[in-house]
Amino acid sequence: MDAPQLAFKERAAAALADGALKIAIERTTGNAERKRAAAVAAFPEFEAARARGKAIKDHVIAHLDHYLEMFERNATAAGAQVHWAADDAEARAIVTRICLDAKARIVTRSKSMLGEEIGLPHALADAGIERVETDLAEHIIQLAGERPSHIVWPAMHRTREQVAQLFMSGHDPAPAADDPATMVQSARRILRAKFLGADVGISGANFLVADTGATCTVTNEGNAELTTTPPRIHIVTAGIEKLVPSTAHAFALLRLLVRSATGGEMTQYTTFHHGPKRAGDADGPEEKHIVLVDNGRTRMLGDEFRAMLRCIRCGACMNHCVVYRQIGGHAYGGTYPGPMGAVLTPVLDGLAQSRDLAHACTMNGRCAEVCPVGIPLPTLLRAWRRRSWRERLEPGSVRAGLGLWAMVARRPRLYRLASRIGVRALRLMGRRGWVRSLPLAKGWTAYRDMPRPSGRTFMEQYRAEQAGRRTPE
């Protein structure tokens, strides 16, 4: 990948030191949190809708082969060509081959996280094809040469002033002012010519509708339709977990997706794409290709991460995550950031490279509370911690420390003696109620203060209370 391969801790430290980043993250996630809360409050049936959404996803996952074959049959009947890719390399090869066979020079792309996951941007560049990102945020990060930092707002790490700099140098003519409205107008002008001049348009899919063979996209900008209508070829890349039985099931999930993602009730453009242009149609592509991508998903089906296949990519978990809101998306180092990314990245990139992510979690449970399909994200993160321990991926110092703790914890007398000494020593180190630096845990106290303990252990206080039958103050 293009980012230098720093360790997670170094990336997180750099993010924490970036004041502008903190402001940019807070603006977007804070806004998203408030708007979601208002949308859920205005929909008293939300809890029941969430239970239904979860049940729909579980039903599809339990019959995934059945629905994949049904989708393939109906998409083919609608005139689309269905391709299957077991991993990211196969998916890249299929898309690149279709583009090269069509002698494509310009390819427009409507934002798709699966496209990022399979490395499509680099594959197109390597094939010598001009790639034009059409989602405004993707356009911003394409100019900046960056990867998305959020699955719904990929450029949320960029302030308005930074976007203005990118547009001033990247747009010809440059925008006349740096307010958001003028900059959006500038992007509209630049991209319109690209939409109409593209040879191939590539989109993702929010849903694959099994009983009609439709691929469904949702956008607020209208870029998906402008990407997929004018070119001669429309290519869809989608993960196999995106299936729903029917259009009505898609609507049930859509109500959850939009409210959880942006706090809206409906995206401006919700489009069901059935195959290529029909005979006599006024516009539309002559070919439609759908690439169904596995890339680790069938592996998740067979292990404790199966529940993660319910994910509808709304981003609510990251908007409500205390860790994401401190470090932003790039620090996670994978395609998907935040809690859902910390679960998915080890599947995609391997646990050895990404074991730190499962530890970068406070287990406060906010992500699971807001997940619209009830994914137990903290439980899944604990599962990665357990696997990392089992596979001996934790560094020696952690293993030795936890081994020592386990030895003491199994000997109650020793444990009580150690904790009595510990709380008294910590009390001596504290000032005004807080311990600012801990020996052996400087990495932890570098960013946090620890509350100064009371000076007596829980067991000591409990005994005193039992003896005196009085409440300690």
Binding site: T28, A42, A48, A49, A51, A55, H59, A62, L64, D65, H66, L68, E69, W84, A86, L136, A137, A155, R160, A181, M183, V184, Q185, R188, R192, F195, L196, N220, E221, G222, N223, E225, L226, T229, P230, I240, P245, S246, T247, A248, F251, A252, R255, T262, E265, M266, Q268, Y269, T270, T271, F272, H274, K277, G280, A282, D283, G284, L292, T298, G302
Partner: protein, 213 residues
């Protein structure tokens, strides 16, 4: 083995050998849609047109009312005048629109890349969300809904559906168009610091002419 065979084999490995018959899966899927009122929002008003208008205007869509189709050209003229636009537009090549009296308004069946105004027919309106449905076809280019800065849609009152499921039911077993689009408000973006800006790629203005007594 092809990728298709490998993926399906991996799924069957994980799911195990005891599998439900297709009819049982279909019954289970249908059961997941029972009692829809328990999991969908109530309408914003008891009257469909009123509920539709409340939702649509909240998103920045404007609405005009005319009693019948013959009133559409005059309503369009009102809109053009209010926005200081010249009396010209790209008109969807549908028979229902072509037969109207467009006297004094220059209509074109073609679309310029920076078309100022486009007018088309909505197949359905959805009261729950304030959405308009369009279908691609020989008489409906999809770009008509995206290239113009001002998108004007004619919606017949008796084509209003209460909920999203109503649209799914209406299309059950019907021939699907290449594109079926639910349009809910003008194009917008919040990609720069969360500021809402209209007219991101598609229309900056969406105007509905609601037709019916």
């Amino acid at each position: 083995m092809t990728a298709r065979e490998r993926i399906l084999a991996a799924i069957r490995d994980s799911l195990g050998p005891r599998r439900a018959a297709p009819q049982a899966v279909a019954a289970e899927a249908a059961a997941l849609l029972e009692n829809p009122q328990a999991t969908r929002p109530r309408l914003a008003a008891p009257d469909l047109a009123e509920a539709f208008a409340l939702k649509a205007t909240a998103l920045g869509t404007t609405i005009d009312h005319v009693p019948d189709m013959a009133g559409v050209p005059a309503a369009l003229r009102r809109y053009l005048d209010a926005h200081g636009l010249p009396p010209a537009l790209a008109l969807q090549p549908a028979a229902e629109l072509a037969r109207l009296d467009w006297d004094g308004i220059a209509t074109r069946p073609t679309l310029a890349p920076d078309e100022p105004v486009g007018l088309g027919l909505a197949v359905w309106g959805i009261a729950e969300t304030g959405s308009l449905v369009i279908h691609s076809g020989p008489d409906n280019p999809i770009l008509l809904a995206f290239l113009p800065l001002h998108h004007v849609m004619v919606l017949r009152r008796d084509h209003l559906l209460a909920h999203l499921e109503g649209y799914a039911a209406a299309m059950q077993g019907a021939a699907q168009p290449r594109n079926a689009i639910l349009i809910t408000g003008p194009s917008g973006t919040t990609d720069i610091e969360g500021s809402y800006v209209r007219g991101a790629h598609g229309p900056g203005f969406l105007h509905v002419i609601l037709v019916g007594p």
